[in-house]
């Protein structure tokens, strides 16, 4: 089928068009990755219900500016390389336009709660009538089926419910939460799921629907604990920063306020070399530490000795010293380190430079670039994150060929470039 493209890219996914209804983190991360790899991603929001990530997160110097919904750090980073349209899916006209978009697209992505797409009449079975080989993915917290399918999941409750918190924490004080860990896990997993479906479609011409439950995909990250339980009858708990079979192994203070260095010694030879490079040959002779079985048992005595040495030195000084001795070692890096200081990130050209039209006060700044380096079809930065409804004319006018109705659609509130919700906390100065 001849395709009227709005952009041409040389990316690996240049022939893939995605209608993207996802919001916040997990979904937009996956469509970002696909967009970076060249897919044409059309992000569909509504003036009454736009991506909530436009409502919170850092603003340039804490300033709301004229259009704060186009100025949020998290939203802007996560939605580069996508086109943005607005469409009120509660209206018949909005639904009709959505179906027209689906008819010329390969993938539909959404992570609304259970009933939303069905309420719109735009669930998979309906969209399949429009385009039989469409690939559609949902990313529900708990799955589209089951007694808890309507339960609400955010990263904060999903991460513990997936089993990730039970195995994390200091050995003396129990589980520690690790934020919304399940969001990026879901996002990167969705990329593979969509690609698997596209490969199958490439082979057979058949699309399908993917139900990617955030808790299920995340629980697989600690699958060995399930095996440990079945095989050994054990329930694992937090191990702190320790690792079976390795000593010294942990996070040690380095010079400065709240600065740390991670060290992982995995052989007796590395231990000898560590004693040597730190200028402490007496540790090598100490029977508490000389062989690994002893070292493993005496870590409570060993760690303070290591810390005594590390805390006098800068984390970036310690790393190369130990790495020269083939010891795995690296600083606990901050965002500032990664963006502005680290020589490896600099040499790899990881961060892209961009500016955001509605944030002239921010100027040119760094955003994370390509997660992977493809030798022949590298990811590129084509455009910053879309302003709300920025590409309505381009997508509806050029791509769909709707010529006369564009202004009327905006007047009727079906499309638009400004939020219709103005009061309350949604546009407050909440950082």
């Amino acid at each position: 089928m001849a395709r009227k493209g709005t952009k041409t890219t040389a990316g690996a996914l240049r022939n893939v068009r995605i209608v993207d209804l996802t919001q916040i983190w997990a979904g937009p991360l996956s469509s970002k990755i696909l967009a970076d790899m060249g897919a044409e991603v059309i992000k569909v929001e509504a003036t009454r219900r736009y991506d909530n990530a436009r409502n919170y997160g850092s603003l340039p110097n804490d300033q709301l500016g004229e259009r704060p919904y186009n100025r949020r750090a998290l939203f802007n980073n996560r939605n580069r390389n996508k086109m943005g349209v607005t469409l009120d899916l509660k209206t018949d006209k909005g639904k009709a336009i959505f179906r027209d978009l689906v008819a010329i697209s390969d993938v539909v992505m959404e992570n609304y709660s259970a009933r939303v797409m069905g309420n719109f009449g735009l669930e998979y079975d309906a969209l399949r009538n429009v385009r039989p080989d469409i690939v559609m993915i949902s990313m529900p917290a708990f799955g589209r089926t089951g007694p808890e399918k309507d339960y609400i999941g955010q990263g904060s409750n999903l991460t513990p419910l997936a089993g990730m918190v039970a195995v994390t924490g200091y050995q003396d004080s129990g589980p520690q939460q690790i934020g919304a860990y399940t969001d990026p896990v879901t996002g990167v997993s969705a990329v593979g799921a969509v690609m698997a479906a596209l490969l199958y479609r490439q082979k057979t011409g058949r699309g399908q629907y993917i139900d990617l439950a955030q808790r299920e995909v995340s629980a697989r990250f600690i699958g060995e604990a399930v095996l440990d339980h079945g095989l050994n009858g054990r329930i694992g708990g937090p191990q702190g920063n320790r690792q079976a079979g390795m000593a010294p192994h942990g996070c040690y203070p380095s010079k400065g306020e709240d600065e740390w260095i991670a060290i992982a010694v995995s052989s007796d030879q590395q231990w000898l070399d560590l004693c040597s490079v730190t200028g402490h040959p007496e540790w090598a002779d100490d029977p508490r530490f000389s062989i690994s079985s002893e070292r493993l048992n005496n870590q409570d005595e060993l760690d303070p000795l290591i810390a005594g040495w590390t805390q006098q030195r800068d984390k970036y000084e310690i790393m190369p010293l130990l790495q020269q001795a083939d010891i795995a070692c690296g600083p606990v890096l901050t965002a500032e380190d990664l963006v502005d200081r680290d020589p490896h990130m600099e040499a790899r050209g990881f961060f892209w430079k961009t500016s955001v039209p509605d944030a002239p006060d921010l100027g040119v700044h760094s955003i994370p670039g390509a997660l992977w380096k493809f030798s022949k079809t590298p990811a590129t930065l084509r455009s910053p994150a879309p302003r709300l409804g920025e590409h309505n004319d381009l997508v509806y006018g050029e791509l769909l060929g709707i010529s006369d109705d564009l202004e009327a659609l905006e007047t009727e509130g079906i499309t638009g470039t400004e939020p219709l919700v103005r009061e309350g906390m949604w546009l407050s100065g909440q950082p």
Partner: protein, 387 residues
């Protein structure tokens, strides 16, 4: 077996440990033929405890058994001329090569990407290393702890007055493996259309930036530093709370005041009906007080009661689940999430099931291979080990 999403795709897995093998695990579950190339001593994950009875056994490591489900195993001594020849031959016949050797190692053996590409132009080669194929750290060593530290993520986890804490187990490398899986399929999609593959350079340090986006963005926009917050929620009525039989997780819906009202009503705390609490900034400033007020309600209930009562009020409650909680979860049971798989050395055990459900193409849970189990099948007359 019904046709699977990746049926017909052949993958060679020249990787050990967690990241590369998890990518292979995902491909195998979706129907790809994944041949795992191990050194004669086996993947190092075969030596990772805990073993049954604490007796090390190369076929009984939980980590290996889980990560290598559904694959074939051959052994190969790569650092011999015959070994290199065999790898070249094997790589000529597959669609995807997953490898995690130190940067430049395959090149030094004369079987780097350029050589493999000559033999197999459509080959997708995914190279997974801690720091990538280039750059000042490319020869540096890393483990899970070091990867987490250098990703920037570790900065955010743990108590403010203590050392940062790493997420348990091998979660970062599972994450990198998941990305490698996605990247392989992206490159494969293109290769199938054009007939030309490519090399994909994955640096764990870079890949983990997918999980570190918020810290990076907040720094770039507003020079904000990440602060560790421990387990105490800072928005009032959020965070981890000890309850009768474990640890409950309370939260409100992001940016939604009515959900806080529902939480106040549920936890039977009249004071929280005061209009002052409407302001999220006020709630943030008084989060400790709010948490103290709800504590009695939480402490008198079980994690399951709290979870379901909260969810019934459309609140994103949860609890800290361990393996037993997951195995007993009515939701996971209804979803048939866990599967039973038999294995010649450890018998039938329960394994986590599919990462996602596809309507047309099923997931298949195969077992982990014995070391070199498929030498005869794969090498045939040629013989194993490159000898």
């Amino acid at each position: 077996m019904a046709d699977q999403a990746l049926s017909g795709i052949r993958t060679l897995e020249l990787a050990q440990g967690v990241a590369g093998p998890y990518a292979g695990n995902l491909m195998a579950g979706l129907g790809a033929e994944v041949v795992k190339v191990e050194p004669p001593t086996g993947d190092w994950s075969r030596r990772v405890e805990p073993f049954p009875g604490d007796v090390p056994h190369p076929e009984k490591s939980p980590l290996f058994l889980y990560l290598n489900m559904g694959k074939k195993s051959i052994t190969l001594e790569l650092d011999t001329p015959r070994g290199r020849e065999l790898l070249l031959q094997l790589a000529s016949e597959v669609d995807v090569l997953l490898e995690d050797l130190p940067p430049g190692h395959l090149d030094s053996l004369g079987i780097g990407y350029k050589r493999l590409e000559e033999a197999n132009p459509a080959l997708v080669m995914v190279s997974i290393t801690p720091f990538g194929q280039t750059g000042p750290y490319c020869d540096y060593k890393a483990t899970e702890l070091v990867i987490v530290a250098m990703s920037g993520l570790m900065r955010a986890y743990g108590e403010p007055d203590r050392e940062p804490i790493k997420p348990g187990g091998w979660m970062a490398q599972y994450h990198v493996g998941t990305q490698a899986f996605g990247a392989a399929l992206v490159a494969l999609y293109d290769s199938q259309l054009t007939g030309f593959g490519q090399q994909v350079d994955i640096s764990a340090m870079e890949a983990m930036q997918a999980a570190n986006e918020n810290a990076i963005s907040n720094w770039a926009y507003n020079y904000e530093h990440v602060q560790r917050g421990g387990n105490v929620g800072r928005a009032g009525g959020t965070g981890l709370f000890h309850c009768r039989d474990g640890i409950a997780v309370l939260d409100t819906v992001i940016g939604d005041f009515p959900s806080f009202e529902r939480l106040a009503a549920l936890t039977e705390v009249e004071e929280l009906g005061d209009p002052a609490y409407r302001d999220p900034d006020y709630r943030r400033e008084h989060s400790d007080e709010i948490n103290e007020l709800i504590r009695p309600w939480v402490e008198s209930r079980t994690k399951s009661e709290i979870y379901h009562a909260g969810q019934a009020q459309r609140l994103p409650f949860g609890f800290v689940s361990d393996t037993r909680d997951l195995l007993e979860s009515p939701q996971l049971k209804a979803r048939e999430y866990f599967v039973e798989v038999d294995h010649p050395r450890v018998g039938t055990l329960t394994y986590p099931g599919p990462p996602f459900k596809m309507t047309e193409t099923p997931w298949h849970a195969g077992r982990a291979p014995l070391l070199g189990e498929h030498n005869e099948e794969v090498y045939g007359d040629v013989g194993p080990h490159g000898r």
